[in-house]
Symmetry: C3
Subunit: 329 residues, 3 copies
């Protein structure tokens, strides 16, 4: 697991907005945001060399949880490069090697470059529905890794007819009942070129909402890399940096596609890494002010921990910045 703490700034007090009696109240622009994550792993091996294992996670998010929280369990079996997981699985699209490639700083945030379209992932919080079922398989050999995952939000079949909220209204879906199928593949060529792609059908359990991703990253020098990501965000998702302002309610017409150019450069000290991205999104929603989002960040390696910072602008032309420390254990 890891611990991280520091300060996140978001313009217009967007980290905590409350509408009371039709009037918008915003929290402080800058807040201390920490996370503590511990994975509890257990494993055993059979006489035939097959490994069985399992994981729980305890996670606490400042401003989100009032205590550490356990999640649903994951069970897996591994043999000869093939891993099969059951339960709270790592989904295929979420595990694609480059899909989070444009993230910056110690908080690993990318308000413009990450997918806006939603899909299932390994769930650090409690399930919304007890009856969720996940199954995943990963095959890894040399430079190639192929993943498949299946998540049924309710395996009892009792909720198949549920109609989710209209994704275009921006309301949260209370429950999504379709089965998500997800696939991804990573390939590294000659230790310099990384290729990554995948998709999620019925993403996050929402009927006919599909997310597609293709990405590549090339090491132009020993200490510099450039990457390009393309994401089709599908019909449902969540946006970063939207205000709850009742006088300017946000209506989503289209999540569009996101194209992100990003790169990083390590200084001669071998410890300081500069990183940046510029992202273009073709979607359309009420509060959108620009099609271009960008950010720049830096990480300094302490050897066991790292200091990091980033400065970013989102699609509503709001500025966010963060600075903090992260240590892994």
């Amino acid at each position: 697991g890891y611990g991280r703490t520091g300060v996140i700034y978001y313009e217009d007090g967007l980290q905590n907005e409350v509408v009371e009696g039709g009037i918008l109240r915003s929290g402080s622009d800058s807040q201390v945001i920490s996370r503590l994550r511990m994975n509890i792993d257990a494993a055993t091996s059979t006489d035939q060399g097959v490994d069985f294992g399992a994981r729980f996670r305890i996670q606490w998010d400042q401003n989100g949880d009032n205590s550490g929280e356990l999640n649903a369990g994951k069970l897996y079996v591994t043999s000869s490069g093939l891993t099969v997981e059951v339960g709270n699985v790592d989904t295929a699209l979420d595990s694609a090697g480059l899909i989070y490639g444009s993230e910056l700083g110690s908080y690993d945030r990318s308000v413009g470059g990450n997918a806006l379209g939603s899909f299932f992932a390994y769930e650090s919080e409690a399930y919304e529905d007890d009856d969720r079922l996940g199954v995943a398989a990963t095959y890894a050999v040399e430079n190639l890794e192929v993943r498949f995952s299946y998540v049924d939000p309710d395996q009892t079949g009792l909720n198949e007819d549920f109609i989710p909220d209209d994704p275009f209204s921006g309301d949260d879906e209370e429950f999504n009942a379709k089965e998500e199928f997800s696939f991804s593949v990573d390939y590294t060529w000659n230790e310099r070129l990384e290729l990554s792609g995948g998709f999620a059908l019925n993403g996050a359990g929402i009927d006919d909402h599909d997310v597609y991703f293709v990405g590549a990253r090339y090491a132009v020098m020993e200490n510099a890399r450039i990457g390009l990501n393309w994401i089709d965000n599908g019909d449902a998702g969540s946006l970063t940096g939207i205000s709850s302002d009742p006088t300017n309610p946000n209506v989503i017409e289209d999540f569009g596609n996101t194209v992100t150019l990003y790169g990083d450069y390590t200084l001669a000290d071998g410890l300081t890494n500069i990183e940046a991205y510029i992202a273009n999104n073709s979607g359309d929603w009420t509060q959108k002010e620009t099609d271009n989002s960008f950010g720049i960040g830096v990480n300094y390696d302490l050897g066991g921990a790292r200091l990091g910072a980033s400065l970013q602008r989102d699609y509503q032309e709001r500025v966010t910045a963060d600075m903090g420390v992260r240590f892994d254990f």
Copy 2:
């Protein structure tokens, strides 16, 4: 702890029945059912050689919990074969060596052979009442083990007058306020004959509800054992395989006695274990179709994990089957 996963089939969608507007809806007959259990133990020894220890358990049950859950703590002290526990204790009857002897497969299920009458056990979930108190003592010497336990569902004494729901109506008791006393003893003779017996008075805290058990198992060959269990189920409990069908509501006249004949046989490979039981119950309830329940199962030892399966028929003549894998760590 351990992890286990696989598929459980229950006829008529009995794993998830919902009555909505007077109409019965049943979930899928076959579902993936997993459990992940981790025990968190801590212990210390005094200079006099007395061991003090404690345990929490984290458990996640698919289709039952939306996240891993902690239980109430157990504290114990051990010296010279005598163990005294306080808190969330292992109760005497639940710990009797043969009471679960007829369980089959990787899920260790016995829909006909296990006790129908209820009694307290070590609680893997949260207590229903904060004020529950348990105390238990175990004395083990060579081939003999004697256990006593006491559970007060509410040690404040404020709820002694509470009247539980009529056990014959089949409704769940919301709160049971009497003190349960439980006792059990195990004895092994000549490494071939196992004897086991016990009882729980005011079982599960229900006034005048007593459960009695006697069992024996004999190794007829090196690789074959036969056992016989007798259980007086008392006045309160829970039945397996009952439908919530509003047109055929289940009324319990009598939980009766259960007599179970069971055995297991290990094949010449030393890894495959065949097991079976046949159980007869003298009780009477509306949905009961037969006095005889039976099942057959198999386990294959992977050395550190095991594959297992079972096929069983319950007292409502419903068929259930399971197949899965379990690994201990």
Copy 3:
């Protein structure tokens, strides 16, 4: 962490009082009270010798929790005697070396000598408010330790205007929105004289409620110590031993100051420690019967565990006693 169990007696069934329909019902005077606490620590060191670490705690309190509960996380960094914590921090006043010096027995209880005024501490239970922020710093060098802490009950700033309940009414404050500043210092002189002091401003987040503490303890012999504590309890807090009796409701005029004289003496066996205190409180509340509280206790060291007992009288002239065992791991 540690485990402890035993029996606590409180006159008039004060451990569980319920008012039902205007009538007071009291629980048993003597109850088995146990606690199981496990700390989950993780840490790492950077190449420069800076230590980063983090902690969760799992705690179960009999009669208080129906299962073990996780708390909010603490993150810290340590280097050259300076420790900085973020999250669920150890606050300065709560960490003052002698503030709990008069506690007795295996339960470490002091109904008269501990502070009545409230202030923040490391929180073993879940936060009341997700948005709580704590920051603390400790500097330790040879015989000196200096601590500072800051706790903002709601760092969003959205609840600054909240008016807490009148502290004089004895009602619980539902939410306290001010920022607490706390400071403390410990100094040991010549290995015989311990000095300790500190304060908390806006204690527990309550506006203008300040708690001050000064204490000293002197080793008059190799095996005997005498201490004196002075606490200004401020305007808000909680009292021990108050009855919920609706015919004698408790109204608090003044928490007053508490002066406590305490000491302990180790017998020649080196294992048995006798301890006692006498405390005088100048406050005024309806149920108060005396300005003097006192207690005597004993601990017997088992080497890895300890047996302990105490007998105390509170400011309502109610007697409480406890006897139990505690083991650390």
